[in-house]
Subunit: 209 residues, 4 copies
């Protein structure tokens, strides 16, 4: 049964997606992917150089896009920080973060799940800490500004911010892993941001007084 190249390529990527989703990058088996895609393992290598390349094909485009977004938003944040960061700007802060994340989610489709939750052992495995770092840096700027002349953040504040950033990303990862419908995804992420936003405001107040 001869099939067109693109169809087969898609079939492989589909089977690979499923396998990566179930087993993660390291435990995924090329043989199983092949079987699921209805072919011999050798044939996969006509379409993808190796396991990494196959993972890349699914997840790489999204990663690039993320990189563009991240850089852009960090620069914007930098600019705002330099100008001063008044109440008005601060209130618009979480909308920006929210837009970044929700935008990414909308643009991404199901591959975000692999990137965020199943990439251990691949070259993308640091994505979570990158994302965390990104969010952390935004939060730090916001906090520093809010704190005003009181000076730089103390150790405990930094740890808490780090935790908030990380758990926020964990939460997003969970949502991505459990809801694939684009609308629902957006709603839930917004909700999570709300929750964390609320917690943050409280923390800021506490530290300001």
């Amino acid at each position: 049964m001869q099939v067109l190249k693109e169809e087969v390529r898609s079939a492989i990527m589909l089977a690979a997606y499923e396998e990566f989703r179930q087993s993660g990058y390291l435990e995924a088996s090329m043989r199983r992917i092949a079987t699921a895609a209805g072919m011999t393992s050798g044939n996969i290598y006509r379409y993808f150089r190796n396991k990494e390349d196959l993972f890349d094909a699914i997840v790489g485009p999204l990663y690039s896009e993320y990189n563009r977004y991240a850089q852009e938003y960090l620069q914007t944040a930098e600019a705002i920080a330099t100008d001063g960061w008044d109440v008005e700007k601060r209130t618009s802060f979480f909308e920006r973060v929210q837009n970044t994340l929700v935008g990414l989610l909308m643009a991404s489709g199901p591959s975000l799940l692999l990137l965020l939750c199943r990439s251990e052992g691949s070259k993308y495995e640091s994505i979570r800490s990158e994302l965390t770092g990104f969010v952390e840096s935004l939060l730090t700027k916001s906090f520093t500004a809010a704190k005003g002349p009181a000076g730089p953040l103390d150790e405990r504040e930094r740890i808490e911010i780090g935790m908030l950033a990380a758990t926020m990303i964990e939460s997003v990862a969970w949502i991505v892993a459990n809801y694939h419908d684009s609308d629902m995804l957006g709603t839930l992420v917004e909700r999570v941001i709300d929750v964390f936003g609320c917690g943050l405001e409280k923390q800021m107040e506490a530290h300001r007084s």
Copy 2:
């Protein structure tokens, strides 16, 4: 030269803990565990039937304990729910959750890390969703009570509660994976519960009106 049986058993479990922590259940290597424990891989099998059994030995007791706690708290919650769930009781609600979780953390020691974060591929890999289910059930009760006569929760409310429960557990897992010091652990978990608590209050208000 002969070592007592229990000492050897401990040595194996110690080495295994470290290996599981670093590599996770699936990627953990029996050979490396044996080497680290100062023996041959074959000897491990005199003390533990297989990899799973070894993981069990480390993580199983905590799992049982968790099960006891969970059941107990659920029953309590049930009782309260039946009696009615007034403001006062509601305000004490998060303290209970908090106590449950922090108590578990204190009672558990480092094996919680394995159970929550390194059990993929083992028979405990569903622990997170179990925990989530537990928290979800508590939240549902609380919400239902708060909503009062307006009747049962709608689909959307249930989904949001599910998400909040799950992401809360994810957050706790992250903390457990990143901070081992018992005090810091407590502080951070309390902080996370604060944040989620704040978000929850807002949500309740929103839905009450």
Copy 3:
């Protein structure tokens, strides 16, 4: 766009020659040959039954030719030996060997390189020992004649002749593998024959006395 059959055949053989030269028979890759010939690997099998057949096509004609030469020269040598083998004839002996070899080299072109140096794993891999046998037989006749009435060669003489024949072929093979320019090739082979001739003369003298 359609190419004539013979052109394609040639293109394949050309690409195959290069691949066999670089990688040897066993390590040669049909895929690389196809790519270099500007076609798909499958198409090669319309022109050649398999890898061996392709190697055959390049190297077979030369092998046949060698066989003709060898038989012819052996018969001549036989005839001379029967007639008696005086000094004059003996002095012309190495010229004959030389002419045989250099003739083959000139008549052969680059495929001799494959036949002599890259045929391991193919059905031609015994060519070196065949050639050696041929030269050995010539040398044996010459020696026997030179030794005269002293009778047949002893074990040690036969071994040395065998070795000289073999290393002479090895030398020629090295030259063929390293110099492709026809003139240089001739010069160096003559030079090698000189060297071996010199050694042989000495050996003959030693054994005659």
Copy 4:
């Protein structure tokens, strides 16, 4: 059937030796080696890290020894060259080369065969050209000295020396591949050196006049 470690190690090396000898480094199959050694392929890896390591174990010691010899003899040659290189020293030259080679052969045993003739694809594959370079350098020194004030060698002389060095090594390789008895090996190598020595003398004379 339990066997002592060293016995098994030897059995593997023996089987490996045979396999490498028959198929060369690249074509050798670990499975076949294992089968020949009476075990599963996996078990080999208890004794040798991988194919390369196994080849190393057989061939490495000899290679080290060769390196020591080569350096030593090159230094000696250098010293002689500086002092001047009269007839007497020159006549002793080939005795030195001969001693080097024959010494190596005696010290080496059958692994020399693998090193010289079956190492393609391994990290030792350049051994022939190294050896050739070594001999070539000795010959060049000798020639330059013999030529005296006439100055450096011309292109053609250099090519011929290169060829003589290379074909000499080829000859030695052939001998090693075909005779394993230590005495016979010595005799034949001496014989080959004689032959080449004779050819060299003639060449020197030709170029001196």
